[in-house]
Amino acid sequence: MTTPFLEIRGIRKEYGPVVAVHDVNLEVDRGELITFLGPSGSGKSTTLYILAGFEEPTRGDILLDGETLLATPSHRRNIGMVFQRYTLFPHLSVGENIAFPLRVRRWSKADIDARVRRMLELVRLNGYEDRKPAMMSGGQQQRVALARALAYDPPILLMDEPLSALDKKLREEIQHEIRRIHHETEVTILYVTHDQDEALRLSDRIAVFSQGCIDQVGTGPQLYAEPATRFVAEFIGDSDFLSCDLVGSNGTTADIRLGDDLVVSGVPLHGRPGERARGALLLRPERMDLSRQAGPDKTGLPVQISDITFLGSNIHVAAATGWGETVSVRLPFGHQSISGLSRGDTVWLRFDPGAAHVFT
């Protein structure tokens, strides 16, 4: 068995009676870009801060190449970090900011100059060397911060929502840059964000945090297609949930009843099936279909259309079930099943049971 590059082993952080991080375990491969995705207060930033050495865990260990990192103070961990807020040294120029970690490491002047130039090239800010941070835009400042964090070849780069203060267009541009820099430098990146688009766009793998725990770790498609918990299903991609009754189960799949009489069998089951338990059926908007007829096998659920929105390549149809829950169906433009439909019409909602999920 090989030692993982970075291992977070049973990390727990308590602030008095509040448990911020609940026994988090995670293994990260060398060169991987992994995002910690979760809402605020889910423990993702605390975990990152423990890695940085700003917080000490109540329990657990962090191993880099099999050696514990916890005994090393922040300034000797040789970890790079880009922060949520702009943390460039305001009294130093861009070049001096990038040179700062090299100066404290007592590099020679020639080496520092060469490295600063290379880092400015890496983040595509050649010529900005003498600017003061206050004279640069937020996006540029975060690029300089990235250059400063990578200047000393750290094995790990931590990023704590570095783009949350930027507008959407700029954010996408820098996400692209981060991808490119990640490929060029092959540094291992741990990236904290609450933005699922950002996580999906950037990551090799995503660790979904919820209430201090990692609910699931996997690639974007894995998390989308096979969410382990209802929270993951809600957080990654768009989702509709319908409440249902569990009428039978073999442990991995369940038979469910929707409304009064529609029974669907063979839906993948997550969680423990209790007797006569209630469940939540996860349906993805693009994996549902609408039809004017019930169909021969009678697997359609009658719903009433409450709204139709045209969005270019897609059409969103909002519909209500007989018991008052709503689903939102996404159909490609020109899809025949909805031509001529309008608000108030009743149609049959159909889906593939094997591609749906039921959570208890």
């Binding site: 940085a52 300034h75 807020r85 460039l88 040294f89 700062f100 404290v104 964090a149």
Partner: protein, 293 residues
């Protein structure tokens, strides 16, 4: 008549108000301007006139002041003590201001209350308290002797040591308050960034925190230095008769010797030095916003 002149100037400027940004709202500031002229500019001019007119027209008062070793020693004393007090106040004040920023807010409020209370306590009372503490049989000498650190009591009072100690104490709030204001605006994430960049605590202090706090250091330091230059009560009580400071000299010249000309010249020199220092500070820190970011 002078008020009439000011009126006509204002009226003439009014149509061009938008262009002349510096004069915008001058009309409203006029009473204040008049008061400043009456209570500040006029007395200073009177001072200057007296220094060159009494006892006879000419610069002989300045020649006397700058030509005699006695008076030069007073100037030297004043600058040495003021410099020492400024340095001591900054060295002690910086950690206190930093502590005030990072401590829990309830504690901050308590420490501020203590600081203000000491500022509001009568200056004489505080200076006499230092006399008691610093004298040969005072608690400081007694403690040091009992601990065996010294054999003979130290001469801590009636000399410049005593003046420096007493004035440092009195000036501390004037360093701590502006420093607190500046340090509070420094984002502490910047210090975390410095730590992750590999900076030791000392490097983070000298390369990041101190440069960022420099405007506050300059503001507080200048205020203390200037106040020290003209300070009277503490040097008079804690200092000896042999090493006088400038304010004592002025008092003696005017009160005992009734030499208004020489006294005015000394006071005017003090003012010139003060303004020169202020100009230097403005030159270095300019109109740049006082603050970390």
């Amino acid at each position: 008549m002078s008020s009439h002149a000011v009126h006509s100037i204002t009226a003439a400027k009014l149509p061009r108000r938008r262009k002349a940004g510096g004069l915008r709202g001058f009309g409203g500031a006029m009473p204040a301007t008049f008061l400043v002229i009456l209570f500040f500019v006029v007395p200073v001019l009177a001072l200057l006139l007296r220094s060159v007119l009494e006892p006879a027209p000419g610069l002989q008062n300045y020649e006397t002041l700058l030509g005699s070793t006695t008076y030069l020693k007073v100037f030297a004393n004043t600058f040495i003590v003021s410099t020492l007090v400024t340095i001591c106040a900054l060295v002690i004040g910086f950690p206190v201001a930093w502590a005030l920023v990072i401590m829990p807010s309830t504690l901050t409020r308590i420490v501020f209350a203590i600081l203000l209370l000491s500022m509001w306590t009568n200056l004489l009372a505080r200076t006499y308290a230092w006399m008691v503490l610093l004298q040969r049989t005072g608690i400081i000498n007694k403690t040091l002797m009992q601990l065996g650190v010294i054999d003979q009591p130290l001469a801590l009072v009636n000399n410049l040591t005593g003046v420096t100690i007493g004035m440092t104490y009195i000036m501390l709030p004037f360093v701590i308050l502006p420093l607190y204001g500046v340090i509070r605006t420094i984002d502490r994430a910047v210090l975390r960034a410095a730590a992750l960049c590999g900076a030791t605590r000392w490097q983070a202090l000298t390369r990041v925190l101190l440069p960022l706090a420099a405007p506050g250091m300059a503001a507080g330091g200048l205020m203390v230095f200037v106040m020290s230059l003209g300070y009277f009560v503490t040097p008079a009580l804690l200092g000896g008769t042999s090493n006088m400071m400038l304010a004592e000299l002025i008092a003696q010249l005017v009160q005992s010797l009734v030499d208004w000309g020489l006294g005015s010249a000394a006071a005017f020199l003090l003012l010139v030095v003060t303004l020169a220092l202020y100009a230097v500070q403005l030159k270095i820190f300019g109109t740049r916003q006082m603050g970390g970011r």
